[in-house]
C-alpha cells in the first residue's frame, strides 16, 4: 500500500485527542479513571504511516496501571503501563505512537 494511503488511515486515529491515567484495568468502558485531568494530544503529521503525540501531566502523585486514550469523553482504548509516582509530585510525560502498516 502506498504511503499516502497509510498516512490517510493513520490520520483517522486523530479523533483520539485526550490521554488519561487509570488506577486499575479500565476494561471496555474506561473505568477506574484516576480523576487526574486528562491532557490534550496534538498529533504529528503522519509520515510513512506513523504519527506521535506527547502530553505532560504536571506535578502528579499516585500509582497508575494504564494509560487511557479518549475521543473527547468517549473511551477508545487503554495501554498497560505501570506508573509509580509515590513520592514528591512529579511531572509525567506520556508519548503515544500510532502506526499503520500493510
Amino acid at each position: 500500500m502506498i504511503a499516502a494511503q497509510l498516512n490517510l488511515l493513520c490520520a483517522a486515529y486523530q479523533n483520539v485527542d485526550r490521554v488519561g491515567l487509570a488506577t486499575a484495568d479500565p476494561g471496555p468502558t474506561g473505568a477506574n479513571d484516576s480523576g487526574i485531568t486528562k491532557r490534550t494530544l496534538s498529533w504529528s503529521t503522519p509520515a510513512a504511516g506513523n504519527m506521535t503525540a506527547v502530553a505532560t501531566f504536571p506535578s502528579i502523585t499516585g500509582i497508575f496501571t494504564h494509560i487511557t486514550l479518549w475521543d473527547g469523553s468517549v473511551f477508545i482504548e487503554a495501554i498497560p503501563n505501570a506508573i509509580n509516582v509515590a513520592g514528591t509530585p512529579s511531572d509525567v510525560t506520556v508519548a503515544v505512537e500510532h502506526t499503520v502498516d500493510a
Partner: protein, 207 residues
C-alpha cells in the same frame, strides 16, 4: 441456451494493521529539605546531617535506600550534588530492585590517598564489583551522575557534567522493567572514621 462458466480468477485481500503504543517518563528532584519522607530504607536508615543525606553517625554502619518514585523506563540517569566531604565512600544507584540485589551505579571514594570514582555493579545493598576506576577528587558543590545508556547498553559516569568513565554491559545482565527501576543511595560505606561524602541533593530522570 446461455453457458455459465465458474469464475477462475484469483483474488487478494488487503491486510492493514493499526498499532498504538504509549510510554511514559518522569523525574525526581529532592534536596532533602523536608527530610526523607519520600525514601524507603533498604538497610539501616537514611537520615540528614546539616541538610545532606547521610547514614546516622550513631550507627557507625552504612545505610541504603531508594526514592519512592520509581522511574518509568530503563534508560535512566541519576545525579547528586556533593555536600560535605570526609574520608569514606558513598554510592549512587540506578536500575535497582527493591532489595538492592542487582543494580548499577557509581561509588565516590574520598580519602587521604584514594580519591576515586568507580562504576559499580551491585549484588546486595553493600556488595559490589568495581569497574573502570578513575582518579577524581570529589569536592563540595560538584555533581556526580550515572546513566544507564539503554540504547547502547553502557553505564556512564559523569563528574561536573563531563563523562569520566563508561562500561559496556550485556543486555539484560540484570533484570530490567517495572519493579527494577529504583534509584537511590548507599551512604557510609566502609565507615571507619568518617562517613565519606554526603549528598545535598538528588535527581533522577528517564532520559
Amino acid at each position: 441456451m446461455p453457458l455459465f462458466v465458474a469464475s477462475a480468477a484469483k483474488s487478494a485481500l488487503t491486510g492493514v494493521r493499526h498499532t498504538t503504543k504509549a510510554s511514559a517518563r518522569t523525574s525526581i528532584a529532592d534536596n532533602f529539605e523536608t527530610g526523607l519522607d519520600h525514601w524507603v530504607n533498604v538497610h539501616g536508615y537514611l537520615t540528614t546531617t546539616n541538610g545532606d543525606v547521610s547514614a546516622p553517625i550513631s550507627l557507625n554502619d552504612y545505610s541504603a535506600g531508594y526514592h519512592r518514585t520509581e522511574l518509568l523506563s530503563d534508560n535512566q540517569r541519576a545525579k547528586v550534588t556533593i555536600g560535605s566531604t570526609s574520608t569514606g565512600k558513598a554510592r549512587l544507584i540506578i536500575c535497582a530492585d527493591p532489595d538492592f540485589r542487582r543494580y548499577y551505579g557509581i561509588e565516590i571514594e574520598t580519602g587521604i590517598v584514594n580519591n576515586k570514582i568507580h562504576i559499580i555493579k551491585g549484588f546486595s545493598p553493600i556488595d559490589v564489583k568495581k569497574f573502570n576506576t578513575v582518579n577524581q577528587t570529589a569536592t563540595t558543590g560538584a555533581t556526580a551522575e550515572v546513566w544507564m545508556d539503554w540504547p547502547n547498553n553502557t553505564v556512564r559516569a559523569y563528574y561536573n557534567g563531563s563523562q569520566i568513565a563508561s562500561l559496556p554491559v550485556p543486555a539484560y545482565e540484570i533484570q530490567h522493567g517495572a519493579g527494577h527501576r529504583k534509584t537511590g543511595v548507599v551512604m557510609g560505606v566502609d565507615w571507619i572514621l568518617a562517613p565519606g561524602v554526603l549528598f545535598e541533593s538528588f535527581e533522577a530522570w528517564d532520559v
